[in-house]
């Protein structure tokens, strides 16, 4: 280990720590929102929801082999997509229910804010890595066709479930990033056991 951290290493570690706290809080709020959403939309919490087009999947193979830059770019793409999806959910919510479900709308808005803040935080980390930040207009597919009310509810369930998974993954990704070398962004792999 180096005797003293360089300023950029210290800043990186600080940004990672703050990001971990943001992601942790976001996850707790998403889990609460998920419970409220399932109840108020009259859904079955154990219902399987097929992968919805446009919802970024948190599932990843060989996660431990990813570089720091890969982690940041995948996270950023995901949270930008969630920002658009949650904004769409909020709009649909307001159209469907007006003021009847203001609590759910407020909770959605709060999570949307956290997702936006986290996306910005990821951009800061990418700038620190001296990486260019991908343009937003290139992210995500075109908006899907108008869905029925039930399809909207199921998609909302899928969005929130994946977001909850992403929040956990982001915490793990940032911990890996905090461990790795700033120069290479290479991730130390897990020790292989027999």
């Amino acid at each position: 280990m180096a005797a003293a951290d360089s300023p950029s290493t210290a800043l990186r570690r600080d940004l990672c720590s703050r990001g971990i706290r943001l992601a942790g809080k976001m996850r707790a709020d998403v889990v609460d929102l998920l419970d409220a959403y399932v109840e108020q939309q009259g859904l079955d919490a154990s219902a399987s929801v097929a992968a919805v087009e446009g919802v970024p999947l948190a599932a990843v193979e060989r996660w431990d082999e990813q570089t720091g830059t890969q982690r940041l770019l995948e996270n950023l793409a995901a949270y930008r997509a969630f920002r658009a999806l949650l904004a769409q959910m909020l709009e649909e919510q307001r159209e469907q229910l007006g003021e009847a479900d203001a609590g759910l709308g407020r909770a959605l808005a709060a999570v949307l804010l956290q997702v936006s803040a986290f996306a910005y935080h990821l951009e800061e980390l990418l700038r620190l890595e001296s990486r260019g930040i991908p343009g937003e207009e290139e992210d995500g597919p075109p908006p899907p066709p108008r869905l029925s009310l039930f399809e909207q509810k199921l998609r909302g369930l899928g969005v929130l479930r994946e977001l909850a998974q992403w929040a956990v993954r982001s915490v793990r990704d940032l911990r890996q990033l905090a461990k790795s070398s700033p120069a290479t962004g290479a991730a130390p792999g897990l020790a292989e056991s027999p």
């Binding site: 999947l57 948190a58 599932a59 193979e61 996660w63 431990d64 998974q165 956990v168 793990r172 890996q176």
Partner: protein, 262 residues
Amino acid sequence: LSLAAPPKEPVLMCRSNNYPKGFYCSWHLPTPTYIPNSFNISVIHGTKDMVCEKDAVPKNRCHIRYLQLFSTVKYKVTLTVTNALGKNFTTLTFDEFAIVKPDPPESVVAKPVPNNPRRLEVSWQNPSSWPDPESFPLKFFLRYRPLILDQWQHVELSDGTSHTITDAYAGKEYIIQVAAKDNDIGTWSDWSVAVHATPWTEEPKHLTTEAQITETTSASTSSFMAPPTTKICDKGAMVGSGAVAVCWTVGLVVAAYSVLFI
């Protein structure tokens, strides 16, 4: 005379005590069949069949390496047991996070703190089966009580593998246990092996002249700590005379301790 029987529905359990490497499933029959049984296990993740590699020991267990992490798709495990008289099966469906349960913390040690009659220092280690505590840190739950009481005190600790209990009852033997959980997902481990410790107490001094005071030292992890070897009063600080002469500082200390005893 035991009659051979077809198998009843087997009992199946799956758990990840080495996240994120993989998980294992283990099984048993609720009642014996008295004839040989064969077990077949299948694991499906979404549309993908996965191979559960049987462990040599114990025989009723197999393990799977995670190919993906952070998936919302559930795992479906089906165990079928067959013998000459029939077959039975059971199915378990779960998601990746729900079955994460570390093994209990290891090497739990509790020690009295010298000159502190209400403190106990507790330390432990991460379970050796947890592969990467730096990237996947554990949090801990410590419980302790004096043997004479039934009610536990609880402390949750989000980092570190040690804790100092500061509200122990002086002179009472304590029982202490620790449990672990991944910081973000899953459930708490079972409680660790219990350890016992008693806070430091000063050895009772005979109320005699200073010349008759014997100074000893000893070290122990579960019993009294002897008082320090340095002298604690001078000849000039004596009060009284003869057999009941008392060093006034000792008198103050004894008075203070007597207030703490319950």
